[in-house]
Amino acid sequence: GAGVSQSPSNKVTEKGKDVELRCDPISGHTALYWYRQRLGQGLEFLIYFQGNSAPDKSGLPSDRFSAERTGESVSTLTIQRTQQEDSAVYLCASSFSGTFPSGANVLTFGAGSRLTVL
């Protein structure tokens, strides 16, 4: 697609429920990233996928968080047993790390999924 698409744009859930957030990256982008941004705070790195390599999960805050990516396309971020502290905007980004120039990893972000845990 023309840009990074995220869904849902807004999700309200009850504490303890599981949620799935979806990211559709720019076609041809080999790298995909998830970030969390709490209200008034900076970007918190969660996880990074690069091609067929094992993902970098070093930013996932707990084992309630997981993410999958199918090939070089759609990714799903799953939060199990949601807590109020999980309330935030979850941003997805993708990049074509092979060019512009190699290693520069210029990220294109989606508009985010706003999660509210009641």
Partner: protein, 109 residues
């Protein structure tokens, strides 16, 4: 591990003045340094990148410098306008995919 510091959480300036934002880093030698802009309710948008062998880069009213000895990048917006009000983020590349906390710039008319 890498550490990125943007020295001001917030910067308020008068329209027409030059805004200067700072990005300092430690424990890393990036090949590139990137600057992004984030408006409220939106994802960050890429503005400029500068390579380690470049001292300065310009794009319209934006200027970025990169001092690998000081481990610092300065981001300047000349002739600032209220529309420049946003949060500006820096990032090191290649790297651990983390961003600085950002500086919230407000340009007052």
């Amino acid at each position: 591990s890498q550490k990125i510091e943007q020295n001001s959480e917030a910067l308020n300036i008068q329209e027409g003045k030059t805004a200067t934002l700072t990005c300092n880093y430690t424990n890393y030698s990036p090949a590139y340094l990137q600057w992004y802009r984030q408006d409220p309710g939106r994802g960050p948008v890429f503005l400029l990148l500068i390579r380690e062998n470049e001292k300065e880069k310009r794009k319209e009213r934006l200027k970025v410098t990169f001092d690998t000895t000081l481990k610092q990048s300065l981001f300047h917006i000349t002739a600032s306008q209220p529309a420049d009000s946003a949060t500006y983020l820096c990032a090191l590349r290649p790297g651990d995919m983390r961003f600085g906390a950002g500086t919230r710039l407000t340009v007052k008319p």
